[in-house]
């Protein structure tokens, strides 16, 4: 075990409450390089909160997060809550974990191309010409090369989400976090986004995907985690978990999608 590979993302025992309501009650996860993990759960099960704790968009009340072997330093403030000890470290780790949001969250005042090079140029401080060349290649890949000078408001939802995925890739992240990437899309636009995500999975990208797309979870991911009321209720390879899960709740949950 001495030379076991360092996990891309390792999360230990995450707890998070909003007021009296405990949303996450001790969740752990290890993602190796190249893993595609789908995180499922009913709404309110805490799956998005869990994902947002990994890059500290939500600060967990308990727990430890390690990205590529580097643990995010946390300390207790005077009120006793956990807070990041080093903001610079948090910024750096966030730049290594790109996030794709449910409502795309593209920067409205920038063109698609400007959205893509913003992080690489201003956060990673890389040469602009190089970033533009890479961004154009990424836009080609997600089918938006012709739309590079469009503003987000001039694009359809599916195009915006593909641009947001390209923006995430432009950061050359160690892992990608997807927070319900297709939930805000019209049904006929879901396919184009899933197609891009599937191609990323096939490239061997490390991906954590909070989703309601059962077909994606079942056919594309290496592992499926099912959260229920803030704990991991079922966890395993999709072929096992979808066919004979021991969890009654998970069987009920997928039953709702097969009606």
């Amino acid at each position: 075990m001495a030379d076991a590979p360092v996990p891309a993302i390792s999360v230990r025992n995450i707890h998070k409450s909003f007021g009296q309501h405990e949303v996450l009650r001790g969740i752990s996860l290890d993602a190796q390089d190249g893993d595609v993990i789908s995180i499922l759960g009913a709404s309110g099960s805490g799956k998005s909160t869990f994902l947002r704790c990994i890059n500290l968009l939500e600060t967990p009340d308990e727990g430890e997060i390690t990205v590529a072997g580097e643990t995010i330093a946390m300390k207790r403030n005077r009120a006793g809550s956990l807070v990041p000890a080093d903001r610079k470290q948090v910024d750096r780790i966030r730049s290594e974990l790109a996030m794709v949001f449910q409502s795309f969250n593209l920067w409205s005042h920038m063109t698609v191309l400007q959205n893509l090079i913003e992080g690489p140029v201003h956060v990673l401080k890389r040469p602009k010409a190089e970033c533009i060349a890479e961004a154009e290649a990424l836009l080609e890949k997600v089918g938006l090369a012709e739309r590079r000078n469009y503003y987000p408001s001039h694009l359809s939802g599916g195009q915006q989400q593909r641009a947001a995925i390209a923006r995430a890739l432009a950061m050359q992240p160690k892992a990608l976090l997807f927070d319900e990437p297709t939930s805000a899309l019209d049904p006929e636009l879901v396919g184009e986004v899933l197609k891009v995500m599937r191609s990323l999975a096939e490239e061997g990208r490390t991906m954590l995907v909070v989703t309601h797309e059962m077909a994606f979870a079942r056919n594309v991911s290496d592992r499926v985690m099912f959260l229920h009321e803030g704990v991991v209720e079922a966890d395993g390879a999709p072929e096992d978990i979808f066919t004979n899960s021991e969890s009654e709740r998970f069987r009920q949950f997928i039953g709702n999608f097969q009606a």
Binding site: N55, S95, F101, N105, V123, E192
Partner: protein
């Protein structure tokens, strides 16, 4: 009333000579006011309870009381105190132009601070979150994401405030600054031709504001390409509805 073109022309020339003074009052007070407003806005949104109360009180006082009274208090009022007369600030506070600029700046700062706060509040939190998720924070996040969006949102209200400020400079005539309105009143007291002189003065203010409105509209247009119609270029004209799969 006879239409005395020669008089109108000579009045126009005399009033135009006072335009640099009006523009000087305007430019100094708007820019100084913007600096004050940035400070007040920072106090208001930075989260500190004491600073926030200070900012609210400032806005309440300077928006809630007449600018003319503020100007009189600064020019005529402060000089009553020997401590002020012997202070470092006396060279500024006994000069009518500086006092007028100060009063105008303090007043517009209250309005501008509210406009800035409104612009900041209108920045979608989703876009800020995307910035944070990409590793931005502090000044970088403000400079690249928050400020550009806030400025675009605030611009229409800001244009209005700037036009109001051009007109407010007329009050400086009451603390003996010879800008366009003051010069007009002096001409009237010499000629008793109120109507003609004030009409020419009105024309001059309209010309100044016309230019300012056009410039602000241009700035707004340049800064808001994302709010305009989507571009139609030769390469994709006619198939905008197409979705690439």
């Amino acid at each position: 009333m006879d239409f005395d073109v020669a008089f109108l022309l000579s009045t126009f020339v005399k009033l135009v000579a006072a335009v640099p003074m009006t523009l000087g009052l305007f430019a100094c007070s708007v820019s100084l006011g913007a600096v004050f407003a940035l400070g007040i806005t920072y106090c208001r949104v930075s989260g500190g309870a004491f600073l926030s109360v200070f900012a609210r009180a400032y806005v309440f006082v300077f928006r809630g009381s007449p600018l003319l009274i503020q100007m009189f208090l600064i020019y005529y009022g402060l000089g009553q105190f020997p401590a002020v007369r012997h202070s470092l600030f006396w060279p500024v506070l006994r000069d009518p132009f500086s006092c007028a600029v100060l009063a105008l700046a303090l007043c517009t700062a209250g309005y501008q601070a509210e406009i800035m706060r409104g612009g900041l509040q209108a920045v979608p939190s989703r876009e800020i979150e995307a910035g944070r998720a990409a590793g931005m924070s502090g000044l970088l996040l403000f400079r690249r994401i928050i400020a550009p969006i806030a400025i675009r949102q605030a611009l229409p209200a800001y244009s209005t405030e700037i036009i109001l400020m051009v007109k407010s400079t007329a009050l400086a005539s009451l603390v003996t600054v010879w800008e366009v309105t003051g010069t007009a009143q002096r001409l009237i007291s010499q000629t008793y031709r109120t109507m003609e002189v004030f009409l020419v003065a009105t024309l001059i203010y309209l010309l100044i504001n016309f230019i300012i409105v056009r410039v602000m509209a241009l700035v707004e247009y340049r800064l808001s390409p994302h709010l305009r119609e989507r571009p139609v270029s030769a390469s994709d004209g006619g198939r905008q509805g197409e979705v690439h799969g």
